[in-house]
């Protein structure tokens, strides 16, 4: 962990003092609704302004030095994405992704509900940095009103040179994928399109499009104020900063927390009050994430490097604690079925592959038989063959389940199951009628 002395941070009055405190994005105490524009400015100060190419390049370089990576799940280096979009010949456009289609994750909704101005700052700043004149903020229905209110506040205060447009996202898991989001904004169809070309080259109306998760934009808004060194005062050298996580399942106080990257996973669980029951497994990252044995994963730092020891990564910031008396295979089967149903339905290997895999897992979970060779073949035939990474993520999650729940698979083969409560720890929305 790389912690700088607070003496080395710029001393600039009350805002700076508050900035050094933690948490950075979330309020110290929940409740009381979103921070108003006034509250936001008094906590964080003004967003830096600037014009021209040199200012933009300097800011992008600072973001590069800060080492900020995307907080939407893919962890792509933000500065590189900014440079790619800024470098195109046409006028770019910025799309802030607050759709949070992952059912178990709540961090983006909570961030938008508590600190919408921080996200809007980031969106406006990103627009300045790539030379765009418009920032489209697509948010989950649950927080639409709050974000509308914040945008209206800013308009009244004539705060931004950039036009902010707020939209509601589609209620669709794949809707958060970059090209699907562009497709949704452009013509109301939340389905991925074939890439190449990437959206950063040719996205909305053929223009270079920056698609960035709202949490990433919030971090961006703070890096612009306080610099790379401040940002790096938390986290690890390779993965600096703080990150929002959603903790669900068998923990005493489930919810969204802001944590320092690199914090041991057991401590992360501790921030949610610790396990509420003996744990059987952890699902780390999201529904595209990785199952892990709590005993093995507990001491690991919550970072891409640390979690790679169990084949996982922070992903979308979900940590789901599965109690020992709920069957992990049954949970996996439920999620696999959900992911299969949520396929955009455009690519055969995804539709058929995930469907077959979900069927096989349902059989396995219900003790109706298991053909490992066939399932392995299907997983190999499904991953990497869709237009987006939906099938890849689903297969990754299933692979980890088969590895972690090995003993349980043997038990199921003999007709036994350790689950004493029905599955349901991982939320799965009811199946949409076609």
């Amino acid at each position: 962990m790389n912690t700088l002395d607070s003496d080395q941070l710029p001393a600039r009055g009350a805002a700076a003092v508050q900035a050094r405190r933690f948490p950075r994005l979330l309020p110290e105490r929940f409740g009381g609704g979103p921070a108003s524009l006034e509250e936001h400015l008094s906590r964080y100060g003004q967003l830096p302004h600037g014009w021209g190419g040199p200012w933009r390049e300097q800011l992008i370089a600072e973001v590069g030095r800060a080492g900020l990576t995307g907080r939407g799940g893919a962890a792509f280096p933000t500065a590189r994405k900014l440079a790619a979009v800024a470098g195109g010949p046409d006028m770019p456009v910025v799309i802030a992704n607050g759709t949070e289609g992952e059912p178990a994750s709540a961090k983006d909704k909570v961030l938008l509900a508590c600190a919408p101005h921080l996200v809007l700052d980031g969106a406006v700043l990103a627009a300045h940095m790539v030379g765009a004149r418009q920032a489209i903020v697509v948010v989950h229905d649950a927080v639409r009103e709050v974000v509308d209110g914040a945008a209206a506040e800013r308009r009244r205060a004539r705060l931004d040179r950039v036009k902010i447009k707020v939209m509601t996202g589609a209620d669709r898991f794949v809707g958060g994928e970059a090209s699907a989001l562009v497709n949704w904004v452009a013509q109301g169809i939340p389905l991925p399109t074939a890439t190449p070309p990437r959206v950063s080259e040719s996205g909305l109306r053929g223009r270079p499009t920056l698609v960035q998760n709202v949490e990433t934009l919030a971090h961006l808004a703070l890096i612009a104020r306080w610099g790379a060194r401040w940002f790096r005062s938390l986290g690890t050298t390779a993965e600096p900063g703080s990150i929002l996580v959603t903790l669900i399942g068998a923990v005493r106080q489930p919810g969204v927390r802001e944590i320092e990257i690199g914090m041991p996973l057991s401590d992360v669980l501790g921030r949610a009050g610790g396990p509420a029951a003996p744990l059987g497994a952890l699902l780390i990252g999201g529904y595209f994430g990785t199952w892990a044995d709590p005993a093995v994963a507990g001491p690991l730092p919550f970072s891409a490097e640390g979690l790679s020891a169990v084949g996982g990564s922070p992903g979308a910031g979900l940590v789901a604690a599965l109690p020992a008396d709920v069957c992990g295979l049954a949970e996996t089967a439920r999620v696999a079925r959900y992911l299969a149903d949520e396929s955009a339905g455009q690519c055969g290997p995804c539709v058929f592959g995930l469907g077959s895999i979900a069927d096989a897992l349902a059989d396995l979970a219900a003790g109706r038989g298991y053909q490992p060779g066939r399932l392995r073949r299907w997983m190999a035939q499904t991953e990497g063959r869709g237009a987006c990474h939906h099938p890849d993520g689903a297969v990754r999650m299933v692979r980890s389940a088969l590895a972690v729940f090995g003993p349980e698979i043997d038990r199921h083969a003999q007709g036994w199951c350790c689950g004493r409560r029905p599955p349901g720890v991982l939320p799965v929305p009811p199946r949409r009628t076609p």
Partner: protein, 211 residues
């Protein structure tokens, strides 16, 4: 002299009608093959690419035969059709409606042909939209064959007409009722058992889980 001219004219007339009948049969086979590439029937005996290529080859052959059919009809001094009627529907003084239907079939078929030759450049959507016109071109050709000729009394002419209509009708019905690959089916309808309800645990036995 006039006998020779009359024989020549008779020759053109026979050639025109004969090529017309063959053309109808050929066009019907082309339509059936076109449907077959879509519904993909019997791929084991007939590779799909063979069906597709045959469809293409026969349609090009039909174009050649069509040229013969049209030219002999126009050149025939016995009837006045006029060159304009080759592309302008209902421009023929002789049997305006009947010939007009033929012209319609040529126009529609011509559009299908040109777009198919330029498919790679046009893109899938444009090509497909125009290709649907084939389902209009065939009935136009069929009606033309019924009304423009006088030969339905001959048994094998009538047979050809009936067989062609039956083949195309069967193909169209097969297309309508098959699950022909219009796109992957709805998720959940793939191979394997239909979507089970939430899997319930097998009879449970309190098994202490390894910590």
């Amino acid at each position: 002299m006039s006998a020779v001219a009359a024989t020549g004219s008779q020759g053109l007339w026979f050639l025109s009608r004969g090529s017309g009948l063959v053309l109808l049969a050929l066009f019907s086979v082309v339509v059936v093959l076109g449907v077959a590439t879509r519904t993909g029937s019997a791929p084991r005996r007939w590779p799909r690419f063979a069906v597709a290529e045959l469809h293409r080859t026969l349609s090009l052959f039909a174009v050649a035969l069509l040229v013969l059919h049209v030219v002999t009809a126009i050149l025939d001094p016995f009837v006045t059709i006029g060159w304009a009627a080759t592309v302008l529907p209902f421009a023929s003084p002789y049997r305006t409606l009947a010939i007009g239907l033929g012209t319609l079939a040529v126009d529609l078929g011509g559009a299908v042909l040109i777009t198919s030759l330029a498919r790679q450049r046009l893109g899938q959507r444009a090509w497909r939209a125009v290709h649907w016109l084939a389902y209009l071109a065939w009935p136009a050709a069929f009606l033309h064959s019924l009304t423009a000729g006088n030969d339905l009394g001959i048994w094998w002419v009538a047979l050809t007409e009936v067989a062609s209509a039956a083949a195309v009708a069967a193909a169209v019905l097969a297309r309508l009722f098959s699950r022909g690959r219009d796109g992957p089916p709805e998720p959940g309808q793939g191979p394997g058992p239909s979507r089970a309800a939430d899997p319930r645990p097998a009879p449970a036995r309190p098994t202490a889980r390894a910590a």
